[in-house]
């Protein structure tokens, strides 16, 4: 089930480079949400390491030519983590980093949930949960039908896996042997509110330990379970996922919701919440970033 040992082709310097990218993605997430006084935090922060690996190493993309037909596709099915994707795209050069301050604003290309008709480089509009797997499967099948060497990646939330469409898609993808389709489940153990129980803050995780691995395996997928904050494990899993064996690939990435910001980690109520100035200072310190010079979010 686990990924193979760290690939020898990825050296320490490369791992450090990607870790620094992930750190900067987190800084931009917090800054943007602070500035917008709106948006989600917990989910984008848990996904940051995987987004860094995808956008800065794994995806075959051309930021200067976002509609390049032979690019790999990425669908953020957990569309409420849009600011994480926007931060990764901005840092990768799709648009200026300063534009992140327009997140969630009227007329912005950076809509609350991804809108492919507004922002070049987005491969699909999402936001209504459960749909990304289907769209990504259509891209993967479309690549096969048009003879293109393209892989389609889709990132789902663990709470999102409660949507029936996820399993409709899981069934159809294995039936069609879509092995150029990679689903990454950001298994951060929390959803917006969650089921009542004796878990942290009185809520239970979306799934029991091991449940996601068992389910995706039962649906005929090749399943890899990793620590979604360990860059070496992320890269190894994504490298394995690129070696098709006739099955679609599911990477169950164990993550921490709110990762990187001490007071957000593991608390469901940081799914979406505005940040106070004093909280921003703590977050920036946690992320190893100098404190902002003044309030209001402008840098």
């Amino acid at each position: 089930m686990s990924a193979a040992p760290a690939s020898p082709t990825v050296d320490t310097a490369e791992l450090d480079r990607l870790r620094e990218v992930a750190r900067r993605i987190r800084v931009e997430i917090v800054r943007s949400v602070y500035h917008a006084r709106a948006g989600h935090l917990g989910g984008p922060l848990s996904a940051a390491d995987i987004l860094a690996a995808l956008y800065f190493r794994v995806l075959r993309i051309r930021p200067e030519e976002p509609a390049w037909p032979d690019r790999d596709r990425f669908v953020l099915s957990k569309g409420h983590s849009s600011i994480g994707l926007y931060a990764a795209m901005a840092l990768r050069g799709y648009f200026p980093v300063e534009e992140l301050l327009t997140f969630d604003a009227a007329h912005s290309r950076l809509q609350g949930h991804p809108d492919m008709t507004r922002l070049p480089g987005l491969d699909m509009s999402t936001g209504s949960l459960g749909m990304g797997i289907s769209a990504a499967m259509g891209m993967a099948l479309g690549a096969r039908l048009t003879g293109r060497d393209v892989r389609a990646y889709v990132m789902l939330g663990d709470g999102e896996c409660q949507e029936g469409e996820v399993w409709e898609g899981a069934m159809a993808a294995s039936r069609h042997g879509v092995d150029n389709l990679v689903a990454i489940v950001d298994h951060n153990k929390l959803q917006q509110y969650g089921w009542p129980g004796d878990g942290p803050d009185g809520r239970l995780a979306p799934e029991l330990p091991g449940e996601l691995v068992a389910k995706w395996t039962a649906f005929g997928w090749r399943v890899l379970e990793i620590d979604g904050h360990d860059m070496a494990e992320i890269l190894d899993a994504l490298a394995l996922a690129a070696t098709g064996d006739g099955r679609p690939v599911a990477i169950i990435a164990n993550t921490v919701k709110g990762k990187g910001v001490s007071y957000m980690e593991g608390h469901y109520f940081w799914h979406t919440r505005t940040i106070k100035p004093e909280e921003l200072a703590i977050a920036m310190a946690d992320l190893g970033e100098p404190a902002p010079e003044h309030e209001g979010g402008a840098r």
């Binding site: 492919m116 008709t117 509009s125 209504s128 749909m131 289907s134 769209a135 891209m139 039908l145 898609g169």
Partner: protein
Amino acid sequence: MTLPMGRAMREIFGETVAAIADEDPRVVMLDGDVGSSTRADIFEKAHPDRYLQMGIAEQNMLGVAAGMATMGLIPFISTFVSFAVVRPLDQIRVLIAQTGANVKITPGYAGLFTGRTGKSHIIVDDLAIMRAMPGMVTVAPADDVEADLVLRWAATYEGPCYVRLVRDATARIFDDTYRFAFGKAAVVREGRDVTLISTGTQTPRTVEAAELLAAEGIEAHVVHLGTLKPLDVEGVVAAAERTGRVITVEEHTVIGGLGGAVAEALAEHRPTRVQRIGLQDCYVESGPNDTLLEIYGLSAARVAEQVRTLLETPA
């Protein structure tokens, strides 16, 4: 006058989309396990590599279609209207209408003719739902001739469209000289006493009703609105001005579909009395086609009778 019967629209669906695919390698067929009913099986035989069985999972199927469209393909959807419109409605909204995906939602089994299935399968409000959705084009061909032309047009139209097809053979009003004009009303019978506006396979029955009325000295002007959205406002206004009195006739609930569209347009542009014949805010039971048409007032005789009554009733 009785119109000749056309061929079953579902056979036109399978044959025409297969013929389009002969010429256009971008065309693919996604089937929700009803290919033997919708006759997507005809396409499958012609293009097995471009026929994709998606199983009984319509939400996923519509999403897959959206993804395929971004790869430059032109997916046609094979399922029943109920499972193509309402079941995956949110997928259509978010992934297809909001993105402008080039997906052809072309289900069969619209209206009352569903092979005695009952209310779960007989969707009475598909035109209202699809017409209300921003970014969605809505077309309901009148007969087999127009269905063929509409499917060919749909393949050339860049963007999402809903094409309402019918399972069984229905009367034919168009011949091979007919040319489908997207977004245009078609006058199918001239008259001066009352304007009847119809859509889909109700139009031939409305023409037959007009002939029954003619025998009693009432000359109806009959207009077919093959395209419900975008609506030919000019055509509707001209049709209303012709007689000063409009009655809409649809195999659909009278709320929000053809009657709604015509009433909206005329209220804004040329206030005219509009009365609506169709399903009166109800669901439909299972039964033989002709029996259902009688029960729900959509046979030629029943339409003629209702028009007569409406005309005799003072405003």
